[in-house]
């Protein structure tokens, strides 16, 4: 790799259960405007500004074919070079990173949005399923996640109590995050007493409906150092796919995540993630996922995540804080969640995470996933050195 790629600015909207006051474009513009103001950059075709834009959104969520049509004029994209990524937005940042490494572009804007309030979540998820062997069964991501949660908890002895602790931790952390949608003071008993949605998943084990947007600007090392006093470097990134058909996978495992993490760690020269990563932002739409993904990321051994949450190690102030932002469980939209994780990692490494700051964080891990039971897994390592 010739030159490093740096993140020079990040912005998030406050996540909200319903932003009926803004259409998709207006929502994403709130975040884009901030990163433009922060860097002073303009869109240009002569190498003096933003060379290209990568957006991330999903057609079904926006309720139209080619969802990027919605946002073009709100991301300064007019008469410019563009890409759209339709999975988790961590992959959009990966695409922007690769564009810069190609040598053809120096500065790339990435912007993502999703308004879950506008769509039919269960219907959209059902439509993602194989139409012949899965969709007709009426499965959605919730019932599929419940199959995964049960299998994982059974195989590795993870308890509902331990899953509930993830919720208590993350909803509590959200109180320190001004962007978080739903901070809550909860007890484990509150979680275990909430309505069962699909056993063993209860209402508070799941994330709330959320609207929001996130934007960031990536640049070559040379330009990043000029644009920003504290650029954060992408040290490693990778993704990996699982088979779609749920019966082909042992749902207690997350082999794709294991592979994605290994590749990202190798790229970042990480040999022992649990010692070399200071803060992790992990996308958890359901509480069990923070535990399972931690294991897949190698932040603890297989089946150890339950003990880890019990020990308090992943709390803010613990040895390896996980989701000091409050995570997806406190309200982030699907699609946007991966970039939220990166943005939070950047704030942590810049020392700008306010009350949720992890003291002295030098390296952050961001994770995102797309699809049923985490079919596509993405991992990014960020560093400040």
């Amino acid at each position: 790799m010739a030159e490093r790629v740096g993140i020079v600015a990040v912005a998030q909207t406050k996540y909200s259960p319903n932003r009926a006051d803004a259409n998709e474009g207006e929502l994403v513009y709130e975040a884009v405007k901030q990163v433009l103001q922060e860097t002073g950059l303009k869109f240009a075709q002569d190498g003096t500004g933003i060379d290209a834009t990568v957006t991330c959104s999903q057609d079904f969520w926006d309720g139209r074919t080619i969802s990027s049509c919605n946002v073009m004029s709100y991301v300064g994209h007019h008469h410019s070079d563009e890409d759209k990524v339709a999975e988790d937005s961590l992959n959009a940042v990966y695409t922007a990173f690769a564009r810069i490494l190609s040598g053809h572009q120096d500065v790339v804007l990435v912007a993502t949005h999703c308004k879950e309030s506008q769509g039919d979540k269960r219907g959209i998820e059902n439509a993602a399923m194989d139409p012949i062997f899965l969709r007709v069964l009426g499965l959605d991501f919730l019932s599929a996640a419940a199959l995964q949660a049960r299998r994982y908890m059974y195989k590795y002895g993870i308890t509902p109590y331990q899953c509930a602790r993830v919720v208590v931790k993350n909803r509590g952390n959200a109180k320190r995050n001004p962007f978080a949608q739903e901070p809550l003071d909860l007890t484990v008993e509150d979680v275990l007493g909430s309505q069962v949605l699909a056993s063993p998943i209860r209402r508070l084990d799941a994330k709330p409906t959320s609207d929001g947007a996130c934007a960031m600007i990536l640049a070559t090392e040379r330009k990043a150092k000029k644009l920003c006093q504290k650029p954060i470097w992408i040290e490693g990134v990778s993704n990996c796919y699982e088979t779609h058909y749920l019966g082909d996978r042992d749902l207690a495992e997350c082999d794709a995540l294991v592979k994605a993490a290994k590749k990202a760690y190798k790229m970042a020269d990480i040999t022992d993630a649990r010692k070399q990563v200071n803060v992790a932002e992990i996308s958890e739409e359901y509480s069990y996922q923070e535990l399972l993904w931690m294991e897949g990321l190698g932040l603890c051994g297989r089946g150890e995540a339950g003990k880890i949450i019990d020990s308090g190690m992943t709390q803010l102030g613990g040895q390896l804080p996980v989701n000091p932002s409050g995570g997806m469980l406190s309200g982030n939209p699907t699609v946007v969640a991966g970039m939220t994780r990166i943005a939070e990692g950047v704030l942590q490494l810049r020392g700008e995470a306010g009350e949720r700051q992890v003291t002295g964080a030098k390296r952050a891990l961001a994770h995102g996933f797309t699809g049923v039971c985490g079919q596509l897994q993405g991992v990014m390592i960020l560093g400040k050195a």
Binding site: P17, A20, R122, L137, L184, D190, A198, P208, G247
Partner: protein
Amino acid sequence: MAELMQDRVEKLKDLDVFVYHGKIYIPNTYTAGAVGSRFLIEIRDNKKIMGTRCSTCDVVYVPARSVCKHCFSQLDKWVEVSDKGTLLTYTVAGQSNGVQPVDPPIIYGIVQLDGASTGMVHMLSEVDFEKLAIGMRVRAVFAEKRVGSILDIKYFAPL
């Protein structure tokens, strides 16, 4: 318990915006393919559950499919597997989503049929929720009227 914010609609002050309720109607056809079609025909006509075998990887795929996910070779060896198997995981889904084939609560499960290497995702019935357990033995119950759908297996029931 703390009040859930998601349980109320956010009141946006002096809001003067329109919300349009739309629906997109886009009919589609989905091709089962040669292998998928034969799998469905065997269930419809003979109540037989068939898999395809990869001899290189020693894997029997059920539902049958045409390409091995491990070695990417084309699969053409058909094997019949049992209509009985073991429950690998399950859930009782209580939420209606508008697209379920029967009214909730629905028991979903993944069943590894005897002779298959993979699990089959389907529904369970004829069982009390409290008696559900990973490892329980189940059998396929076929629909009386069969049309060439995965729902020609009505559900799995305890042995």
